[in-house]
């Protein structure tokens, strides 16, 4: 870890100004990912702007029954919040399925969206990696890729996004708010990105992960109102029972009326470079009978695009089974 300067930000515009256009500066939130990456040499900032004291720690209801979540809300506070648990239970479950109690107390919503892949080549600076060192290659494609992407990957990168929270946010059409510098005098202006546009496709630029403008500060996430989200759940599969990243996960919400799927939300985790909204599956579900055959066909519709590598083909089966299992549980829950 190289030496770096440190400043505390007291307000949003000040934070954006302090970071400025310096490509070697980073915002420091909970630090659970950034400080780790600094220790292993993946991140080498010259300047940190500490945003943990910004007044962005609130969760507020919006008109119509949505929620606005501040960027520095911790994972723990998010998962414990009564309205999150009431209106978006899959979001609370997703957050609780991630990391550990200690890390959830530190990690923030903004940082969670921006966390980097846990690919073992990305986190080892002695190895090539197109995401960390563009143009150096992707050893995972020929090497260890049991937990790599089956959807939306490219020949340049097959890493998966590690977030659990993001999967639920993708299912619930979250909108990311940010503030960015506007003019030379420290003025800032706000912007918004729907979660569907927040993460860039991998293509040949795996190092460019989000559509945020340079120097932008995430200020919060807004969840639009959606009655279906109150009947939702998150199911995560991992190689030990807790404190491990997913090898596959599903966030789902289901509204069944008269035996047919009236409304549905479905997103996958640990299968792509971003939380994967399963829109093909949703299309296959809407209006169809809420039964196992429909669920299986919907899963297959989404997974038809899967391009597994030699060692991660199991994920196609796993995601198929997870979709059927979670939707079946939600249907039975609704029937009760």
């Amino acid at each position: 870890m190289r030496e770096f300067g440190y400043q505390r930000a007291v307000d949003v515009s000040g934070a954006v100004a302090q970071l400025g256009a310096d490509p070697e500066a980073r915002f420091l939130g909970g630090g659970t990912n950034l400080v780790d990456l600094m220790k292993i040499g993946v991140e080498r900032p010259a300047q940190l702007v500490d945003i943990s004291g910004l007044p962005l720690g609130q969760i507020e209801s919006t008109e119509g029954g949505g929620l606005r979540i501040g960027a520095t809300v911790t994972n723990s506070d998010l998962a414990a919040h009564p309205e999150v648990r009431r209106r978006y239970p899959a979001l609370a479950q997703a957050v609780l399925a991630g990391a550990s109690g200690q890390l959830r107390n530190m990690a923030t919503v903004g940082g969670n969206l921006l966390q980097r892949t846990r690919c073992g080549y990305f986190t080892d600076v002695t190895q090539p990696c197109n995401k960390r060192a563009p143009g150096s290659g992707c050893p995972a494609i020929e090497g260890e890729h049991r937990n790599h992407a089956i959807l939306g990957a490219s020949e340049h990168c097959v890493a998966v996004h590690p977030s659990d929270m993001g999967v639920a946010l993708a299912a619930f059409d979250a909108v990311v708010s940010y503030e960015t510098a506007d003019g030379p005098e420290g003025a800032t202006s706000g912007g918004e990105l729907p979660i569907a546009d927040f993460y860039r496709p991998v293509g040949d630029t795996p190092h460019l992960e989000t559509a945020l403008p340079p120097g932008a500060l995430i200020t919060g996430v807004t969840l639009p109102p959606a009655p279906v989200s109150a009947r939702s759940r998150y199911r995560k599969v991992r190689e030990r029972a807790s404190y491990a990243f997913a090898i596959g996960s599903v966030a789902a919400a289901l509204d069944v009326r008269d035996g047919a799927v009236h409304d549905v939300r479905l997103a996958f985790g640990a299968v792509a470079s971003r939380p994967w909204r399963a829109r093909e599956a949703e299309r296959a579900l809407i209006g169809a009978p809420a039964d196992a055959d429909t669920f299986a066909a919907a899963a297959d519709a989404e997974l038809a695009a899967a391009q597994p590598l030699p060692e991660n083909g199991y994920k196609v089966t796993l995601m198929h089974n997870l979709v059927v299992a979670v939707l079946t549980e939600l249907r039975e829950e609704t029937a009760r």
């Binding site: 600094m38 940190l48 109690g101 807790s242």
Partner: protein
């Protein structure tokens, strides 16, 4: 030290103020261990992957290896050295001792700090990944062995003392976790 890459800070640890100059790279863990001789907090992985360095920040458990010391200024820090009340062990400490909730003892300070805060989190109504019903109006889930196992999973124990750790936490939680508590954020919320 170069003022652009170091800062003079005051840390509030176990109720005492410590003023020191830190390299910005210094983690709270290293400041405790290498600068303040508070070596009860252990370094197991230095990457937030084991929980051995768990301390309480404003009453909440946190891994001190990923917390920069300079950023911890102004927060109430409680380490394992501050868990007991003088000579009287905290109920969690006593239960670990009585029920052999450890072997080599290296993960133990982190386990104990984690358990102290975890019992409060549960009392404040925080759900966990194994809680059946997350609805806010549902009855609070009892602190079963499965709840303890999940909530304590951020503290690895390589000796394999989990069974005894769960027994110790169960006993301490039943004893009320009263003595030695520095009222934390979760506790305050519960009281409010």
């Amino acid at each position: 030290m170069d003022p652009s890459t170091s800062s003079a800070i005051t840390l509030n640890i176990n109720g005492e103020k410590h003023t020191l100059s830190v390299d910005h790279r210094t983690t709270l863990l290293d400041a405790l261990r290498e600068r303040l001789d508070l070596t009860g907090t252990k370094k197991g992985c230095d990457q937030g992957q084991c929980g051995a360095c768990t301390v309480l920040l404003d009453g909440q458990r946190a891994v001190s290896c990923l917390q920069l010391a300079v950023s911890a200024e102004g927060r109430d820090i409680t380490t394992i050295e501050g868990i007991a009340e003088g000579e009287r062990l905290h109920p969690v400490q006593q239960a670990f001792l009585d029920l052999d909730g450890y072997q080599c003892g290296y993960c133990t300070p982190g386990q104990i700090c984690s358990a102290v805060a975890m019992i409060e989190e549960h009392a404040a109504g925080w759900p966990s990944a194994v809680s059946d019903d997350l609805r806010p109006d549902a009855a609070p889930a009892p602190l079963t062995a499965d709840e303890i196992r999940e909530r304590m999973s951020g503290n690895l124990c390589r000796c394999g003392a989990y069974v005894q750790i769960v027994e110790a936490v169960t006993e301490a939680a039943a004893a009320g976790n009263k003595a030695g508590n520095r009222a934390g954020k979760a506790g305050k919320e519960a009281a409010a």
